[in-house]
Symmetry: C2
């Protein structure tokens, strides 16, 4: 005899809020898809999918993300679960939202295109199906709060980046200007960035030195009680 048999069962989905950052137009973007099935076919949506019997929630999120982007090792964390009765008009679906950060250039473009995915600026989002706008709103707030206290900004940048690019990213997320000297002083004083010999030369004549994030060093510092903080004026 099956246990718990008198209780109802539900469809469980995972929806991914996938953030990217465009270093050229200096905007935070979301990877959105045109939904390919009913209900709401053809409407803009977060990428999602139903949880299979053979996988955990985390595994489902990874599968969904991998299928859309071709990427496997990415920043992906559970965000929040949505369980209003009629949130999906097709059936009762409980959806677990996942929050992903990826370097915008790293996605497999063909794969994304096949799936009808596009990067859309968060400043000009289309209407999204169901409660997806709410999911995005919550995730954006989380991003703004987390980036102050965790070194997750680097997940949105290429491996090599300039301090100007890093600052532009923070300004895009905070939606305000920050003081250049104070920003640099603070990030450099943490000693978690490695200055490279190479310069980025597309955007200026002088060129700007590339840096990269030293994750190992960060982990060691963290073990010793260090707290990342880039909540600068």
């Amino acid at each position: 005899m099956k246990l718990y048999s008198k209780h109802s069962r539900y469809l469980v989905a995972v929806d991914c809020i996938i953030f990217g950052y465009d270093i050229f137009d200096k905007e935070i973007k979301l990877l959105l898809v045109k939904r390919s099935f009913e209900p709401a076919k053809g409407k803009w949506s977060l990428e999602g999918g139903f949880v299979e019997e053979s996988e955990s929630l985390d595994e489902a999120a990874h599968r969904i993300l991998r299928n859309l982007t071709g990427l496997d090792i990415i920043y992906l964390k559970q965000s929040y679960s949505y369980g209003e009765i009629n949130r999906d008009p097709g059936a009762r679906v409980i959806s677990v939202a996942y929050f992903a950060l990826i370097p915008i250039m790293d996605i497999n473009k063909e794969l994304a295109e096949q799936n009808g995915a596009q990067w859309r600026s968060i400043a000009r989002l289309p209407d999204l199906i169901f409660d997806h706008s709410e999911m995005v709103k919550k995730s954006l707030t989380d991003l703004q709060n987390q980036i102050k206290i965790k070194p997750i900004g680097f997940e949105l940048l290429p491996e090599k980046f300039t301090l100007v690019q890093l600052q532009d990213l923070y300004e895009a997320i905070y939606q305000r200007k920050v003081d250049k000297r104070n920003f640099r002083k603070k990030i450099l004083s943490m000693e978690i960035l490695e200055k490279l010999d190479e310069k980025e030369r597309e955007t200026s004549k002088k060129g700007a030195f590339y840096y990269k994030f030293n994750k190992d060093r960060y982990e060691i510092l963290k073990q010793n009680g260090f707290y990342f903080n880039l909540d600068v004026n």
Copy 2:
């Protein structure tokens, strides 16, 4: 024809991590129950229940908490969802954990007793079923982090409390001593506490003034950009 019909459905449960604070023995406690059904009947467990078709996740959490404690208006927030395949040996169950704070004296004692519930110090927790220890651990970390930056400590205290009691609560959660003068200076400077004329006279001859949290005032300050912070040495 039903939409999404080819996908599997799952039992969805809500489990409540219910924190209380005992002002006498100065310990954080959890309201635990002895499980009354198989599997793991008789083992210690978080209070939980399956989500009904007629209710959202939040509503299920409220129902479960109300049934156990008799309390309706309490601090209750979604925490995290747990979806490992074999986390519950009875069946595949996806569980959404909820985090509750209640003044320990406010529960309906008969109701709690009927349900086999007891307050247990987090310093001496029994073994818990399934992944409930993991849920507790995460919630405790969340509590430690949240109480620094949100005025949620008051949810664990009676309406009237002394500054000593408030400080003891913080020390119990932080698991370390804090400086009395700095603590008082900081909390009083926020101007969100109201000093009452009445004194608490059980624990000292001199007596300590009662205070109460002025939630309305806090909300106004927050609207004006104020951030609660009680991350004191």
